[in-house]
Assembly symmetry: C2
Homo-oligomer: 269 residues x 2
DNA sequence: TTTCACAAGAGGTCTGACATCTTTTTTATG
DNA sequence: CATAAAAAAGATGTCAGACCTCTTGTGAAA
């Protein structure tokens, strides 16, 4: 991808992206996306900062800010006096530092995503759910259980929990119908929250844990009871730091090869 | 921690830190450390950027660069027009995005770290090790096996692999003796590499996997065969992107509560 | 041929100005 | 006096340009 292609693509991206979003963030996301989607080959050199700023039509400091973020995330490597390069092994969608959803994960592994045994129920939150989502005791929640398929193979069982208080009282029924539609269409819950509720997820905090499949989960995933599975428990937060959603994901042990980019910055041992 | 304390502490930090290190990086590490070590309370407001730059005696752009990195890592939150705040739940040492070592991990959980069953051997690399460390077939490696203790409880079994070619031919024996000394003193391999070999680890890439303990590992950890364990396989890279070390870590399932900060930046779902 | 000095090119840092957003204060208006 | 509008204050975001420092290539000198 050369400079003028970059220029055009970014101009389009710049117009289409959310209006409230800051310029630095747009540039960061733009560059990250073209790296992750393979438009800039690993180890290839990026244009210098001045050229980038000129062709993207932004200032050098904004470019630098974006590059700093990308370097921190392991996407690029900057060498003083030499240049800026795409990393040798830039993160992919199986990188847990990025909050991609299960569908994206399956798709990026080259498989066709699918869903089975969808169950949407309303139930009062358990004590642990209340504490994680900062709800009053027994507050009602919407619980979405799904078995996720990759090329028709059962790979993940997911349980998503949304506080019912996210919905206006008057709109509850409509919202639930729309939610159901999103799920059936294999749209992510994130896009439902963004498009329908105008809620943007800013980040998540995940806990990982090795488990043996208990009976219920083993049945869902159609694996033997006691088989190894990987649990990822995650709370997603809004821009304001409010918890918006809780999810439990149970991965068949060898379904994905999760990795993490671990920066050494600032940690002297 | 107020502005003048910040000022003094950073001046000291600035002098003591490695000479080749860039200013931005120093500031980033400094601020991250005082956040992680609890000198700035969660949700407390940081001084504004101008004050920070004045008191740390650096320019505002350098401050901003550091703050951008910290925000990306989930340590702080910046609100346009309002201010900069420590995150509600800033990452801790159990955050896998930071490449801290096992000793640091144990220490930060409040336990006293220890080591048992240290075994250091030299052996030719297996095929998989060769490919991960980019070695020629059958190249010799140093293998360090350790059982790690937290308050005398066996929590992790670690296997570290270093290519023998890291050492000059003439210094091999000396280096091995020193390495042995570092291990016995519970110094990390990272600090051995830095202090003795002048090699700096820049980042690692880790893969996580749920496992059942096979016999050998079960014995080392003194748990039942087939018990759940979490495996973290990691390759550490130098500044140049060369793989320097490989490690396998086997964690008793409930020993730690690993978490990951998952940024949503740039990933639209 | 080798070595050294210099120039070119790239990222790193500094400075100061202005833009934009949020919050608070002041002022004008009914 | 109460309320709404306007202004000011304070913070982060963006821009522009200069200069510093490091790496690399080139060409002149030994």
């Amino acid at each position: 991808m050369n400079l003028s292609e970059l220029s055009e693509t970014f101009a389009k991206w710049n117009k289409e992206s959310a209006e409230g979003m800051q310029l630095t963030q747009k540039v960061t996301e733009f560059l990250r996306k073209i790296i992750m989607d393979g438009f800039l080959a690993p180890e290839s050199q990026l244009p210098n900062e001045l050229d980038l700023s000129t062709y993207l039509d932004i200032s050098r400091s904004t470019v630098r800010s974006a590059l700093a973020t990308l370097e921190q995330g392991g996407f690029i490597k900057r060498l003083w006096g030499v240049g800026t390069f795409v990393a040798k092994n830039p993160p992919t969608y199986t990188n847990l530092s990025l909050n991609s959803g299960v569908t994206q994960l399956i798709r990026s592994s080259g498989a066709v995503p699918g869903t089975a045994e969808i169950m949407i129920t309303t139930r009062p939150a358990s004590e642990s759910v209340c504490s994680l989502l900062q709800l009053e005791v027994e507050a009602l929640t919407i619980v979405i259980e799904r078995v996720r398929l990759a090329d028709n193979r059962r790979v993940v069982f997911t349980v998503d929990v949304l506080p019912l208080k996210l919905f206006e009282e008057s709109e509850k029924d409509i919202a639930l119908t729309v939610l159901r539609q999103f799920i059936d269409d294999q749209e992510s819950i994130y896009s439902f929250l963004r498009q329908q509720m105008n809620l943007e997820i800013h980040h998540g905090i995940a806990w990982i844990k090795p488990l043996s499949a208990e009976q219920y989960i083993a049945e869902k995933l159609q694996i033997c009871e006691g088989c190894n599975i990987l649990q990822i428990e995650q709370v997603d937060y809004s821009n304001n730091g409010e918890p918006l959603a809780l999810s439990h994901e149970y991965y068949v042990a060898d379904a994905f090869r999760f990795h993490i980019y671990r920066s050494n910055q600032g940690v002297y041992l």
